[in-house]
Symmetry: C2
Subunit: 519 residues, 2 copies
Amino acid sequence: MTAPLLGTSFIGYSRSSGTQVCGQGVNPGTGEKLAPAYLGATPDEVERAVALAAAAFPIYADLSGKARAGFLRAIAAGIEAAVEEIAARGPQETGLPEGRMRGETGRTTGQLRMFATLLEEGSWVDARIERAQPDRQPAPKPDLRSMLRPLGPVAVFCASNFPLAFSVAGGDTASALAAGCPVVVIAHASHPGIAEIVATAVVAAARETGMPEGVFSLLYGGGRMVGQAVVKHPVIQAVGFTGSRTAGMALMDTAAKRPQPIPVYAEMSSVNPVVILPGALARGEAALAEAYYGSLTLGVGQFCTNPGLVFLPEDRGDEFLARLKTLVETGAPGTMLNASICKAYAAASDVFASAPGVQTLARCASPAAPGQGAPVVFTVSIRDFMANDSLQGEIFGPGALIVRGGVAAIEASIATLEGQLTATVHATESELTACASLVFALQQRAGRLIFNGFPTGVEVCSSMVHGGPFPATSDGRSTSVGTLAIYRFCRAVAWQSFPQAALPAELQDLNPLGIKRME
Amino acid sequence: MTAPLLGTSFIGYSRSSGTQVCGQGVNPGTGEKLAPAYLGATPDEVERAVALAAAAFPIYADLSGKARAGFLRAIAAGIEAAVEEIAARGPQETGLPEGRMRGETGRTTGQLRMFATLLEEGSWVDARIERAQPDRQPAPKPDLRSMLRPLGPVAVFCASNFPLAFSVAGGDTASALAAGCPVVVIAHASHPGIAEIVATAVVAAARETGMPEGVFSLLYGGGRMVGQAVVKHPVIQAVGFTGSRTAGMALMDTAAKRPQPIPVYAEMSSVNPVVILPGALARGEAALAEAYYGSLTLGVGQFCTNPGLVFLPEDRGDEFLARLKTLVETGAPGTMLNASICKAYAAASDVFASAPGVQTLARCASPAAPGQGAPVVFTVSIRDFMANDSLQGEIFGPGALIVRGGVAAIEASIATLEGQLTATVHATESELTACASLVFALQQRAGRLIFNGFPTGVEVCSSMVHGGPFPATSDGRSTSVGTLAIYRFCRAVAWQSFPQAALPAELQDLNPLGIKRME
């Protein structure tokens, strides 16, 4: 894994022969351009990648879960073997520290192995068997059996803020490959080198484990050109995306306008409200402010679960605010992922700063160098908040808005919030019980509810829900993290009166895979 | 249940005071108008029905499964008690025979009780519990628990072809109510009286079991006016529909253009291909033709699963065709559901009859009276079929197209078909194994595969899939029949670090409901 980066797309097992430069890595801290220049996939190459995925699909979909698990484990091993390359290249391309690169590598390989374990166990397919009752009156009951089957080839878009865990071999790819869907990945312009390192590992794993060519391709050239072409292609049956609301909604629009509309799983925009009740303040305002500040500024605030909106009782919390003010003012700016995110952060902060009734509680005193984002916290009354929908917008970065109001007004305000990935309550247990209707309102608007904690740090496990009503995600019935993510790329199929030999192993009488079934 | 029909909408527990007539029942066989005239819901009443649903939602969603099951069972009992009224009114409004009315009443009450049983057992919520690991390195693992929760108020459109099983208290309503979602039903203009009889039973059951007002409303006034207004309303969180492709796509479009897009489960259009291989013909062509004719003409062909497209080997099947010809020619026309379906059937038949290369194999010799549809069967070569996409269109009624070709050409043709609810293969077991790639191609395009049978007669059970890729349904990941239908109206929610008392019973340590969980 010490081959030099080539700067070209992966079209199945071949490398692109494109000649047009579409971009290259840029160090967001220094502005330095990083070799090599990346060549965009040509329209013919896009077509070829998709055609290979279509040809691979019947073969890949019918492999055993164990065979697909072997592929996922080989990818994980290959990425692990490349961790030094990732740790070297990643910080240059993303501004993220080396430790984060190593940690995110571990999360990514962990995700792949989690899905491998799910496949090896095998019961996830929800096999259901109802045997024939030929003598039933008034009509015989036929033999009916159902299980989940893969949708078909899937388009996956890499995310800027998770160059590994939500990119080439991240959660979307891992869950789609686990489901039995070939994947065509569209690289993010922000970290083309990490994408190439990881894709090299994926392709090597595919070859090594005998996967059909086309089970994976990686295309450079950007979401607007190459990405839209892939999403429009009739072969593609679903889309995974993490990124901005604008880009996600453009994909939703394209998918809805296809002759055959397809599902889009876009994780887009969330401000992750935090409701602080008096009892939580009574436990110690300064400590709460410190914990909150840590979550707000983690990763320079560039997480989907960043808690950017706080509801604070209007008649208390002075010490919380004072401590938060000090932390923000004495905090440090951080290098953001790329120049456009940095610019958008500054612009969103300016919109908030100049909105009616909004006060700036604190700004980081250290000046932000080019490419950096600095913490900032605003406050506003709940009346002014409710009068201005734009204050529900996301400040992607370490910026927050604190809304002051009475508990009843807070509850009324929550009923007007858009959909969120997470919602958090800081309270005593008795307050939590007393404000059940407020908690229900939060539940209606979020995929995950957190008590006395913070939403950053998304656990990858079977009970995680990293989704939520629109616009947090395009499809609030889905999660992009955890084992439930596999269900995005499946649908149930029923077999009626089929002979044993023609049934999938999961549905045969003898249950050769030994899985749990409904029968 | 012998009160006269009032001809007004049900706005929660009140009856509409609308004054504008929107239509009335018409006997499709005689053209006779049936009293009473029906009054359309006013915009204020639509608003009130939706507002009541919104107010009912937090209460209804938090009822126990057993309480919701009691409601469903009370609805079933109420509909059963009204079976004589249904059997009297139904044939007048729909042209369907009395026996069908009684049978469909049984199917409808059976569906309601099936969901009640699912709720009483309780494990369907997919409860997942992962306990905290405070000492885990490098970071503690929080307590995380997830389960399915209802989406919110749902709009349900009644279908013309199932005045009970896919209408006021049909599968969409039963599954949405089971999930915990209040339902606003939009009546179908074709059977307003049956709708009123059933709605009366639903409202009585809601009162009797102490459900919150607004858990159910029934609106008259049509899909285009009242229906669109309901689907656009921000309170509504999902839509269930069975009907034409045009109407279903209009709802998809409206839902996609909302500020918050919502899922639409529209079951629309399917021609349900039947592939006949030589071995099946060798078993007896005449018997196969008779069985096929029975399925094609059942209910005057007005089923979503009507097998309207047959692939037959080009070099055999003469006796199959000869027998089918006789059956069609000596068959009887039947009264169709309403005048517009009858007109559309005649128009679609004419399009097929005049398409290039299409021959009319047989037409029913008895003349069709006004309101009737008569069987007709066309044949076409596979080359002409593949050259003309319009031949993939649905003839809603007892009309079929038989495509003649070689097995390889049939397989190639299947790869070009649109999505279907069902796909059927008639073959020997060894042929089925030998043509695995053909079966895989069918599987990719259908929700249910049938071997040596016919698709009509949809079993209501746990392993039924009555869905399929677009345009069979708007969302090919869903089914509108069977217990899996409940999952259309849910999403997973996770609770992180919540105290026991604030968790749903399904997720509490003590498992007070005794359900199966992942833990």
